[in-house]
């Protein structure tokens, strides 16, 4: 298992990187963390003629947080985003999801933006971008454009990047005030790709559920965003407990919106079952996190 030969480029500035990408066009592939790309190369599932290693490009490894959003640069490692307390304060779903991305050692090298550009339908961060109504900044030698999550993911392992372009950063907006979030998934083995994963956000206003949304991985070609408000609106929340919200009904509503496929890991009907069960659990956890008496969850490791 050795990668096929390629021409290697190691630009040190964004302009230089964009110049190389423009020059090599369709034959070029950006190398960031490489935790998905290098296995693909090692298994010879792809053989790009040019690799453009952006790890030496200055200024791309930032995690910038302001009052309303978190913006992650193209070479910021998953670990750096996961451990960033300011980012967690503004958008807790980042850390909640990143804990489930592969293993800590993979997260040390893998990048959050790279996992978005890879557009794996099992990739947790695709659901985070979708649920936060986030966007990516796509840059080429001829300028930049911001693309919403809904337009960015085109199909399995396919995003809307064109030849000569790269994703420079991704922005994850904060949820509205009074919103709690959770990310839950089921995988065969710890750290493995999820059979089904659910990112959930529940907004509580004046002690009652006012909005509930979820985004799903591994049950469709792209992250699927579902509004579940109708099933649970009006459920009362007090002291961290939610009564009167029918989370199971929300699970059934979600099940009616998905069309999962079978593969070697799971039948389609088991995935559909997971959508129902995990939706109910994730919404309940998100609602508890939205309640004002909730104490912030601690990281499990380190």
């Amino acid at each position: 298992m050795k990668p096929p030969a390629f021409t290697y480029h190691a630009p040190e500035s964004l302009d230089e990187a964009l110049g190389v990408l423009a020059e090599v066009g369709e034959d070029g592939k950006v190398l960031a963390g490489g935790q998905s790309l290098v296995p693909i190369l090692n298994m010879r599932l792809a053989a790009p003629a040019h690799l453009v290693d952006i790890n030496r490009v200055a200024g791309l490894s930032t995690v910038d947080t302001n009052d309303t959003s978190v913006t992650v640069g193209a070479t910021a490692r998953h670990t750096d985003v996961e451990l960033d307390d300011a980012a967690y304060g503004v958008q807790p779903l980042l850390r909640q999801a990143l804990r489930l991305v592969a293993h800590p050692v993979i997260r040390n090298r893998g990048t959050t933006v790279g996992s978005l550009a890879h557009a794996d339908p099992a990739g947790e961060m695709t659901a985070v971008l979708a649920l936060t109504r986030g966007s990516v900044r796509i840059t080429s030698g001829s300028g930049s454009r911001n693309v919403d999550a809904t337009d960015f993911f085109v199909g399995p392992l396919e995003c809307c990047l064109r030849a000569g372009e790269m994703v420079e950063s991704a922005t994850f907006p904060a949820f509205p005030a009074g919103t709690g979030s959770a990310f839950i998934e089921v995988a065969r083995r710890h750290g493995d790709y999820a059979l089904c994963g659910v990112a959930a956000a529940v907004t509580v206003l004046d002690g009652a559920v006012s909005a509930a949304r979820a985004a799903y991985i591994s049950v469709g070609p792209t992250p699927l965003l579902v509004d579940l408000t109708d099933a649970v609106a009006g459920g009362a929340v007090s002291g961290g407990a939610v009564s009167g919200a029918d989370w199971a009904a929300a699970g059934r509503l979600a099940q009616s919106q998905v069309s999962p496929e079978a593969d070697i890991h799971s039948t389609a009907s088991y995935r559909r079952h997971l959508v129902g069960v995990l939706t109910a659990r994730a919404l309940a956890e998100a609602a508890a996190a939205a309640a004002p008496t909730h104490s912030l969850p601690l990281r499990r490791s380190g």
Partner: protein, 162 residues
């Protein structure tokens, strides 16, 4: 077309090595073939088994998922770099010995480097955290119980040593 080569400088276990490699040379192969340190084992070569884990600038990474050229200029610690200069075992190595945490030994270098780095961040792991630390490494011999015990014992030894 002849294959592209580049010069790479790596500081491995404190010693600087400079050599030319094909740009597609994996860091794991560079460490074994170019630097000549064969303690870093190559198992799956797609990031699943963890046997090739080394520390790059202090952080554990999969050396089979990095090109040597991408690591140019980095400081690498392999399993050979864990013990003290006088041969005194690293607390993790001592704990593996005491707890019988290996059988065939193939996976052991990756466990040792991974655990050594994790204990730098968390000197008092719980049982659950010990499981999390080793969750990315495969061992087909031990059943993991003794490795988990070794994580906790290594933390004890490390704390005792100050």
């Amino acid at each position: 077309m002849s294959e592209q080569h580049r010069s790479v400088t790596l500081t491995v276990n404190g010693r600087t090595h400079q050599f030319d490699v094909p740009v597609r040379r994996l860091l794991s192969d560079a460490i074994r073939h170019d630097v000549g340190l064969t303690g870093t084992h190559v198992g799956c070569e797609h990031g699943v088994c963890g046997a090739c884990t080394v520390l790059m600038d202090g952080r554990p990474v999969r050396s089979c998922l990095l090109f040597a050229v991408s690591a140019d200029g980095a400081a690498i610690t392999t399993v050979e770099g864990l013990a003290a200069a006088d041969g005194t075992r690293h607390p993790v190595q001592q704990a593996f010995t005491e707890c019988h945490a290996l059988q065939c030994g193939f996976c052991t270098p990756g466990f040792l480097t991974t655990i050594a780095a994790a204990l730098e961040d968390n000197s008092h792991p719980s049982e659950e955290q010990a499981e999390e630390i080793i969750s990315g490494n495969l061992c087909r011999c031990t059943g993991y119980q003794n490795i988990k015990a070794a994580v906790l014992r290594a933390a004890e030894l490390k704390r005792a040593a100050g």
